[in-house]
Symmetry: D2
Subunit: 331 residues, 4 copies
């Protein structure tokens, strides 16, 4: 049994805590969060201990592995503290919003041979995983184009937007990771466009965009398109298409039921989509944590790494630069 | 070029006339209908001759083949008149609503080796035809169950209901033919139920039903279910499923476009269905007429026969009897 | 916390035990099964006690509610033992394969005001539940026709068939319950047909059928069709269509992912279906148990009753009789 | 009746000739093509006259309107000859592959108030037209993003590629027109990428690409993505998605039937797509010609103009430049 500390008792921490508690191979030793109420209530739900001090939780002798679900600006210091003690880490993305800091952190992790997994949860969702497996199995031959549609159900509140790091580092970054992963090669060139169509005033205030597209290409010529929007009235829209020399794979959205409705106005109509990422990727979070624990127990390499986090951030930064300069960015 | 007379200038006659006119192998010699205006206007549309007397049209020397689209009670006399002169006939179904008369007519046609094709147009529609071809090709192994859903967009007016012969002989009969055809064996037992759910008063008045189900079985145990309703608010609903030992085939409805709509209420929603049989089976009417003309030109057997018409009527009559007696009817 | 004993440590008992263990409102007190290994291994998995004697488990003071997942012939005696002690019961269906015994048991349960829930799990699955809710909300107006397709992935082994009670009491019974439930009225007439298309020899040996259809009608004329087959090569096929005066609801199957594949042979192709009922109805079993515990905790009526079990068995018996006599059976 | 001359008796000329012949408002006066056999055989099929000299056909007194389906390099001279005589023209796109020549031609057409319709046939296809109508009706609010997937079934032969003008001017140009049309605003910035993934050698030889993406933006920030490939093994793939503030519209491909197949490997599988543009857009060609004739008969403005042709060519040229320079191109 691996003793695990979950840092952060917010919505993402709750999910991780539940998945740790349900694992046969791990024990939820402690939940830590400076907000005492949040920490206590989450600890109670799973009959475990609460702490206010995340660093003290890392340092405990009965803790061998950490799950970091705290605010982004705390990721690096918590991650490195654990790595320096030889403890394993599952860290929410991004490493940091700042590239220089991220780079330095990754260097230290690698120098110390740290075992850190970056939480690119989507890769573990059953359909995403099956797409990657089908590509690997040669089902669609050589990949030629990857088309990613990713739209949020509703514009986040101003407070969130202000600290988000901007649409490319906050939202597109997930799709940039999936794009890299499905292309199977590193992008070498990227162009992005950004628009302010939902709330132009707020977006201008924070020099941000609410609607975006990215186009990128690998050295061998494989292409990827991403479209993002901060608001889709029909729900949280997550679709992918991978087109190859021998066929195509499409991933559809999830709905709560399989019902189709027919009436005077519509036929074959399905329900609105699962509202947001916690519902949509519930299975992915569980599979991600299981993969983390399996790597811990078996001593195998982490399925996603800090390098993946760095690459995604580089692509996001390139998108920001491309929108600013109106040019393609070479990577 | 085969000289063809189209008898009946109503909505079905118009479709046949247009298809004859478009054929490279046939000439639309005359359109006949006792309603002078209807006959003349249809003849004008295709630059051909109009006549009031259907029998005289049959008798013309420049007419080698007949297409009968007149009211049901006139079918037998027109058909036999043509057959006695050695002329070919494409006759709308049913042969007649009365079984004894139909039987006598079929006997005479067969005694005279008459070339009569019964207009089971659905068999010629591309999806129906492909389903039959896929079964013949062994794609789904041995047929086990055929499920036919067939619902009209709206209840016909009282005048139509009164002279329709009842739901089983007017509406179910098409599905009974398709059931026989897809089963590939003759049904030996049939049970039917009928309900009055749309307009109970009118249905009671004419001893008719507006909602019905039929269940039948062949000697080897293949099964068929049919459901009918005189009114479906979402349009003219025509779906079929053939389930076999190695797989299943499903036929969906047609819509005017391929659009799918997404909004706050629905996702993936398609348009209401093509309204009614003339639109739904437009391609089928053309393919049916082409098959008729091809059989004429090549001298090959008629693709559907008066025997098919008789069998379908027998099944319809059995359904009427089954509803009356509450018993399965042996055929 | 309600103390619960799970009787039977087979595949269904395992599911119930896991769901009890995961409930916040119940405690898994004991798992009982005469097969010592099965009982112990299941008890160990959830850190609870194992017993060999099911009756002794019922009698325990720390047990307030029972979940019966033992072989069918033991259902009645275990159920009545618990009821006589004033304990609640969730019992797998059917009550018994024998109608007289079932009737007597139901009478005793009702005389004692026993709290017994029959495990019609499908009613609790999210799509089934949403269909019932949509009908209740008037979304499709008055129900006219219910079409139920229900096919197993593969023929069960001979040993299972021999003791199954026949296709109608073993397989169709689930669809008969769903039919009653979606019609919202009791069927008053039923006709069934049965065929031996998969393994005629085995079916003949046990006087059973592997392929069946049922057609039934309520007093007001609502209609229901059920089709069953013991083998569908594409997987466990569970679809329903409810057609009403204002629209239609369709329920599709579940697949492990949302992938659609395109290649030279097919487009838009989905994966084979979830293999069998434990996978397909996983969510339903959990929702069913939650509903049972909620009724226990709140003291509200059981969501499904022994009457439901009796009615379903009556319909199954009527189907058997109808196949034998070739007649519709009045209920 | 408008007298129409069809210039060019190739595959596109054949379609136009058939549609002219079927029109109630037009007369197919002559078919002209320097290939005598092609001209004669097409003229014979519709019982009309054949000529070798396209210019002479334009000059005929009984010809009031021209349909140009000849090779691209002849478009301008034939178009201007007709315009100078005050005759109307439906001209296949593009005007020319050279921007300067196209510009000069458009200027002359506009100076002479010439009535020229550019054959952007897709705009007339029922689903495309319904999408535009739904946007105009406000069904999806303000357009935010247009996603266009457009892939050919197979790489054209070398001879075609050599004279095609390159993927952007030959293939993407159709999607650029549709993008402009659905955005409802002129793009002001465009970035394109091109790859050689199918036949790198041939593509290098002609400085062309077989796989491409385009990303563009209007002044108000509406965005459009186009993806193209010269080869899709599953058929001619033509899909569009228009995402707006109140919803989304999706256009699916057409298949020959509505069959869905289920077997051990796949469920819900549809047929490969209609092979290529003549089949896929058959209805569009007819609707386009009807719109042309309607404009002629009513004297209303042409539904598509030489300006549309010019704009599409400008966008295609910008795509070529963007690929060369690796930069976004301001328009």
């Amino acid at each position: 049994m691996v003793g695990i500390a979950v840092l952060g008792a917010g919505r993402i921490g709750k999910i991780h805590a539940a998945n740790v508690a349900a694992s046969k191979f791990a024990k939820l030793v402690v939940v830590a969060d400076p907000f005492a109420d949040a920490a206590q209530s989450l600890a109670d739900a799973f009959g475990t201990e609460a702490m206010l001090d995340c660093e003290a939780a890392i340092d405990r002798d009965d803790v061998q592995a950490i799950v970091i679900g705290t605010p982004t600006h705390t990721h690096i210091s918590l991650m490195l503290r654990a790595v320096r003690q030889g403890k394993a880490v599952l860290c929410e993305k991004p490493i940091d919003l700042d590239m220089a800091k991220s780079l330095a952190a990754v260097e230290e992790v690698e120098r110390l041979n740290g075992r850190v997994m970056l939480a690119f949860n989507r890769r573990f969702e059953s359909t995403f995983a099956e797409m990657r497996a089908a590509i690997d199995a040669g089902d669609i031959g050589e990949v030629r184009q990857v088309i990613i549609s990713s739209r949020d159900p509703g514009l986040a509140p101003e407070d969130y937007i202000q600290h988000s790091g901007g649409i490319f580092r906050d939202m597109t970054i997930h799709d940039l990771d999936i794009g890299r992963w499905l292309l199977g090669e590193e992008p070498v060139e990227l162009t992005a466009i950004g628009s302010r169509l939902i709330d132009p005033q707020m977006m201008e205030k924070y020099d941000d965009y609410d609607t975006a597209m990215v186009q990128m290409q690998t050295a061998s010529g494989k292409q990827c398109h991403i479209n993002n929007c901060r608001q889709a009235v029909y729900g949280y829209d997550q679709r992918i298409e991978v087109f190859g020399s021998k066929g195509m794979l499409q991933m559809d959205n999830l709905r709560p039921t399989t019902i189709r409705r027919w009436n005077q106005d519509v036929t074959d109509a399905r329900e609105p989509l699962l509202n947001f990422f916690l519902e949509r990727y519930q299975q992915a979070y569980k599979a991600e944590l299981d993969a983390y624990i399996e790597a811990l127990v078996k001593g195998t390499p982490m399925p996603t790494t800090v390098q993946d986090g760095l690459k995604a951030l580089q692509l996001a930064d390139a998108a920001v630069e491309s929108v600013k300069t109106g040019r393609a960015v070479r990577l």
